[in-house]
């Protein structure tokens, strides 16, 4: 229970050191505490501290990321073949006819994505991140320039298709407003064999309580390489956090009835932190299915867990990187993803500020958090995941989709294994009985 009475501080209660870095520079005046916590995120191009009105659409700058891209036959520059795919070992595209290898241009270089975030003003978006037009077809028709046949590409799962007449591969690299062609792509780096070994190892460690049907049906070789859609966001913001912090000055024990209890004395401070923050490569799922992460209903949190990706190594989008893999189309727009990105950026900001709050060993309570976003840049990306999925049919007739996922860049593995509930309850019951017996023995011995 707190004693709110201010008391004069005894000499030994003086802070051993003043707050972090001793002399705070020209302290911004304390802000009166307000409750509940008040947050504000302002978006604008102005760098002043006062929130500025959201810029209109005309203020949005678009980076044209499919300039020079062509649809149809993408040919090897050396032999003219269209049978081109990713060589996972090198990260390059390889002509499967003459073995010539090359790489697409780095997205950072092509679109100047690694420039100073402090210079970002207003809203900048890649042309592949533009809003989805609902009437845009999902299945696109292309005319094969080799034989003239009409070829369909189902953009829900790929941006390539093979001409059924002449066997040439047709690619879709130009952006249409249906979310199928992103600004950049991060090629697979972890080979399928490595992913299979990781998934096997992950599941083997969880076999005892695994559902018997899952154990019988599990085949790691069924893993699929999937490019999943994400938005990669850079944010240039100014933030001012204010609140209260407590520094413990003394702890001691007092006798309350028959027991001893610990009491604490502390100094209360008004705390203000005012700074610029640059958030780089914040990555957010841009498929509405993947954004739903209610773990009692799905296991999408598994795919979320294997982040982050080294998006700085992404390259300009080229459909040839997709060959042999499948993909999921982006179906969320900036206005749906902005609140998520800004809330996460706020979390990141609070986390980083903690490094300046070491003096407040009892904690800090922020009561006002004002963040003025000066600039933001959104780029859509396909990021690579090895995905093993297992549809569990429950006794109540419901189904549950379990995933074991491998980050195809870092190898990080996470998964959900269906549980044999009866077996787990039985063993837990046994543990409980053993615990009860131990508790009785300990109590009888007076321990």
């Amino acid at each position: 229970m707190e004693n709110p009475d201010p008391t004069s501080r005894a000499p030994e209660q003086q802070p051993l050191s003043s707050p972090q870095d001793q002399a705070p520079p020209a302290a911004p005046e304390p802000v009166a505490a307000t409750n509940p916590v008040s947050d504000s995120w302002a978006r604008g191009a102005d760098s002043s501290e006062a929130p500025t009105p959201e810029p209109d659409d005309d203020a949005t700058r678009v980076i044209q990321t499919d300039e020079g891209a062509t649809d149809g036959l993408a040919k090897c520059s050396r032999c003219g073949a269209t049978d081109i795919s990713l060589n996972v070992a090198t990260g390059n595209l390889r002509c499967n006819f003459c073995r010539f290898e090359w790489s697409a241009e780095s997205a950072n270089d092509a679109f100047d994505l690694d420039g100073d975030i402090g210079k970002l003003l207003g809203v900048t978006v890649g042309s592949g991140s533009s809003d989805i037009v609902p009437s845009t077809d999902e299945v696109m028709t292309f005319k094969c320039s080799a034989c003239g046949a009409e070829v369909l590409i189902d953009t829900a799962s790929s941006t390539q298709a093979r001409c059924h007449w002449c066997r040439n591969t047709l690619s879709m690299n130009q952006q249409v407003p249906n979310g199928a062609v992103p600004d950049m792509i991060l090629p697979f780096k972890v080979p399928k064999e490595t992913a299979i070994a990781s998934i096997n190892k992950f599941v083997q460690k969880r076999r005892f309580f695994a559902h018997p049907l899952f154990r019988a049906e599990f085949t790691a070789e069924n893993v699929m390489g999937v490019y999943l859609p994400y938005m990669v966001v850079d944010i240039n913001a100014h933030a001012r956090l204010s609140g209260e912090g407590e520094h413990q000055t003394r702890s001691y024990t007092v006798k309350v009835g028959d027991s001893q209890q610990t009491r604490y004395d502390a100094d209360l401070y008004n705390v203000v932190r005012d700074f610029d923050v640059h958030v780089s490569d914040l990555t957010v799922e841009s498929s509405s299915d993947r954004l739903e992460q209610i773990t009692s209903q799905n296991s999408n949190n598994i795919i979320n867990t294997i982040m982050p990706f080294d998006v700085e190594n992404a390259v300009r989008y080229d459909s040839n990187y997709m060959k042999g893999f499948t993909s999921e189309r982006r179906d969320s727009n900036l206005d749906e993803l902005s609140p998520i990105a800004f809330t996460q950026a706020e979390d990141i900001t609070r986390n980083r500020v903690n490094s300046t709050l070491g003096f407040y060993d009892r904690g800090v309570r922020w009561t006002q958090q004002d963040v003025n976003v000066r600039g933001q840049r959104w780029v859509s990306a396909y990021l690579p995941v090895w995905l093993y999925s297992y549809q569990q049919h429950k006794s109540n007739g419901k189904t549950f989709l379990h995933y074991v996922a491998v980050n195809a860049r870092t190898g990080e593995t996470m998964g959900s294994v269906p549980i044999h509930q009866g077996k787990l309850l039985l063993v837990s019951g046994g543990v409980e009985v053993a615990g009860i017996i131990a508790a009785i023995v300990l109590t009888a011995l007076g321990i």
Binding site: D276, L282, T295, S416, G429, A439
Partner: protein, 101 residues
């Protein structure tokens, strides 16, 4: 009677019988009484990993610049029973997508 109901019944009986024992013994006994539930939860999360998520707050690159700090003493507080500040929220995470229900 189901297994869980049986466990709960035994649980209640031992809780009742443990009431007359000393404070420390009761506490240690209580820890053992939870062992079955703790085991179930441990295994559930080990297999399902429902508690896992991307730690965006610490795993995303960010830089703070032009930091200005203000730390003004307000008053001393004495005799508090909590070792942590009430309502401390500097480690709070609000943007996690993972939810249990």
């Amino acid at each position: 009677m189901t297994t869980s109901a049986m466990v709960l019944a035994v649980h209640d009986q031992v809780l009742a019988s443990g009431g007359s024992s000393g404070d420390d013994g009761g506490f240690i006994g209580f820890i053992f009484l939870l062992s079955g539930f703790a085991f179930y939860a441990l295994m559930y999360f080990r297999y399902r990993n429902a508690d896992k998520r991307h730690r965006h707050e610490s795993e995303t690159e960010a830089t703070l610049l032009n930091m200005k700090k203000g730390d003004t003493f307000v008053r001393s507080k004495t005799g508090m029973s909590n070792s942590r500040m009430s309502g401390a929220n500097s480690h709070e995470v609000r943007g996690a997508r993972r939810k249990f229900f």
